[in-house]
Symmetry: C2
């Protein structure tokens, strides 16, 4: 592809990249403020930890440590490295110390590992206790590996490559695939850094990605003689980037298949038609409420919204629960023969959560076909006949169709709303709704159909943007 | 199974069979009338043929020749055997001769072979010209084989076996699987005779059939060392009965899979609970029109009836065309995403024909998903984007879903009735409707939905029985 790029196109690409870089590199003021704030946090935490009598190293990790953060990015990762002698029972004491310097606005979380997420002076600070191990392969959990990532990247970076990393991060951020958090399921900062180091520049990454195929293997330190070996090991991953500090890890394991392919397509389109909107999309717009209703109505489908009040959990827990519940609800709906056109989930992560299921129809006919056993299964046929000859739910049959018995019977749920109301009466734990969502369903479930969403739409700008995007269905970047 | 039958059950089975036989064997009067009428036909035809200057043998075939016809069966097969020296060009002269003795009420037909079907004095007489060949394997078409079938069966029959044959035929007739004609797709008289000869008695046939499996091979003359060999040769046939007079033919080739399994299930149930209704079902009932509408309405589905005026053709041609058209219409309907619950076709073979499609819903939502190419197909993606970015039919997207492009667009037909009206405007030849049906559609198509069928239902008893049976969906024999 690179070979086919005209000089004119190349110049335009470079121009857009220059403009993007200008906006992606933090200003001196931001840099100073962030670094000073980070230093203060570290000092304060060190003091608290020594008061606790803990012998620990406190250090910053992530993009702040590597000087690759994007202007405006407000995530600070503070790691507390402890001797393995302490054992996991020391973690609560570390979190207690972190809490004392965080004030009120924080949440204790437990993913693979306990940590504290605090919201201080506009930053999101993650305090993460971990063990000091000799090398990454000895890591007890993934956070023990992070300091090695930082060291690896810092040893390879120079000032020019940092710009290339920032371009890639800004591009990924702009097209909505940046971040390994569950909500996004995209590319972590570390992954962006590795890709840039591997391919040498931002544009090289895009050119390579344009031609990636599902199951692409990138093995920077050439740990595997044959990519098939890595593919077998990381089976099912749509993208495999072997961790340079631990050959047994896939750095891209969080990347979901949709995000990967958005990146691939956006890379291809950017190289054909460079545009600053890939990096910095226009501010999202929302339809006016009546316009939204008209657009929704023109689809002729049924929009079913399940709305709940707040769920208090860190975003990764929250989104994990939301997605799990969305899958369980989709499965339920389809199991009862309703056809889902598309489904999505929204949360502002504080006051409300909404599941959206767009169905081909809200109502199904009363009659439902039920395929019985093959005629040659003598005992199964006997049971089937016995059951259905006596049943008052049978509308037609039993009959022979082809080599099987069939009945047509009265459908249990002809209204998808009734189905949901019924199955969520107990919060829906039994059908697989995640615990916190189930609790929220019990406390505050509202089921809204089509235009019944109007009031909430009109009152919540973030939701309005979400639903508008859903209806347009297009990426924010130029197709 | 036989081993498990109690003496009491055995006695009841025998009692039912005695009663059935009493009704299945033609009376002396019927026998004399039929044979005399047949003789007269043969004499008359011989005279006409010699007037034509044709050297031919005229003989009766089928169940009249073998004395195995059922009381009330009114089918007479008259074959005209000619020397192969004549060639096929002689057939029209034979038919002309036959026409002269048939009067007005007859139809010339051409299936594999030309023949004349005449309706005389309450009988349906088939006049079939064929070639006199040395053995069945030399047959130029299946009718040349018929005289060998007659000879084979006559050489094996005795009076007692004739009763057993009649019981089997009456049973098959009663449960609706008797007849190789296209309308039925069941068991021919010859096939009934062979099964009876092979298994030795009516009840033995039923006991064997109870345990038949799909692809059962019955090879009376043991032409094949291994049934798998026959199964390979007659691949796809649900039942294989190797023709004793021609090892390359499957006598059961007309038996459709549904008919076979109806027979299997009915055999099993009869042996458990013998009942004269298997042989002689109760006269079919029809719902009163309002009751029918209530039952139909309770299903919540959409009944679409395509009704036409008469199609003049012999039944095999007519039903072949009706079934072919039904398949084409079903394919069309499903291709446009409408879900067919069940479908059926009715004809009185003279004045009217009706296709019935019961759909889950008559209307579909305006929005329709259209799955595009995988992202990794670069050129396909380019084409897809180009096409859909410009299209005014796109409601949402293009978007990336998983590893593919997707759009949601305006559906071409949201109303199944509009779809049918549109595609049948030209008779429907282009979508695969058979020629005579297409002609009837052009001349006299009515599309009726749900209760719009009421008038026709109320005016046509045969159709009312058909629709009632459709709605009940149960066999006429006791389940």
């Amino acid at each position: 592809m690179a070979g086919a790029i005209s000089a004119e196109l190349k110049a335009r690409i470079e121009e857009v990249c220059r403009e993007a870089l200008r906006r992606a590199v933090p200003s001196e003021a931001e840099r100073r403020r962030t670094l000073e704030f980070t230093e203060r946090l570290i000092e304060a935490l060190r003091l608290e930890l020594s008061r606790e009598g803990l012998d620990a190293d406190v250090q910053v990790e992530g993009s702040i440590a590597k000087d690759t953060w994007l202007a405006g990015e407000k995530d600070i990762d503070i790691f507390v490295l402890l001797s393995t002698d302490y054992g996991r029972s020391v973690f609560p004491r570390v979190l207690k110390a972190a809490k004392r310097i965080s004030g009120e606005n924080c949440l204790e979380a437990y993913a693979e590992h306990p940590y504290l997420e605090a919201y201080i002076e506009g930053f999101t600070v993650n305090f993460v206790p971990c063990f000091r191990v000799r090398d990454a392969a000895e890591a007890k959990s993934s956070v023990d590996r992070t300091p090695f990532h930082t060291l690896y990247v810092k040893s390879k970076l120079n000032e020019q490559i940092k710009d290339e990393v920032r371009l890639l991060k800004a591009f990924m951020h702009g097209i909505g695939v940046y971040g390994a958090e569950i909500k996004i399921g995209g590319f972590s900062g570390y992954l962006c850094e590795l890709l840039t180091l591997h391919y040498g520049s931002f544009l090289n990454v895009l050119e390579a990605a344009s031609r990636w195929r599902r199951g692409e293997v990138i093995d920077i330190e050439r740990y595997y003689a044959d990519p098939e070996e890595a593919r077998r090991l990381f089976k099912g991953s749509p993208l495999i980037v072997v961790d340079p500090v631990d050959r047994a890890r896939n750095v891209a394991s969080a990347v979901r298949v949709g995000r990967l392919h958005e990146f691939i397509l956006a890379s291809r389109l950017f190289l054909e038609k460079p545009d600053i909107k890939f990096f910095y999309p226009e501010a999202p717009k929302a339809y006016l409420a009546d316009e939204m209703l008209r657009v929704m109505g023109s689809r002729g489908s049924a929009f079913i919204f399940l709305k709940t009040g707040p769920i208090r959990a860190v975003p990764d827990i929250l989104w994990g629960q939301l997605f799990k519940s969305q899958r369980a609800l989709s499965k339920l709906i389809e199991q009862f023969d309703f056809k889902i056109i598309r489904s999505d989930v929204w949360s502002d992560e504080k006051s409300a959560n909404v599941f959206l299921f767009e169905l081909a129809t809200r109502f199904l006919p009363a009659v439902e076909r039920h395929i019985g056993p093959p005629i040659e299964k003598i005992d199964d046929c006997k049971r089937f006949l016995k059951k259905h000859l006596a049943s008052e739910h049978v509308l037609s049959g039993p009959m022979v169709e082809g080599d099987r018995l069939v009945v047509e019977r009265r459908r249990r749920y002809t209204d998808a709303v009734n189905l949901l109301r019924d199955k969520l009466r107990d919060g829906g734990r039994s059908i697989g709704v995640a615990s916190l969502v189930s609790k929220a369903f019990l406390e505050s479930l509202e089921i809204l159909v089509n235009e019944e969403i109007r009031d909430f739409y009109a009152s919540n700008r973030d939701f309005a943007v979400f639903l508008t995007k859903y209806l347009r269905g297009r990426p924010s970047w130029p197709l």
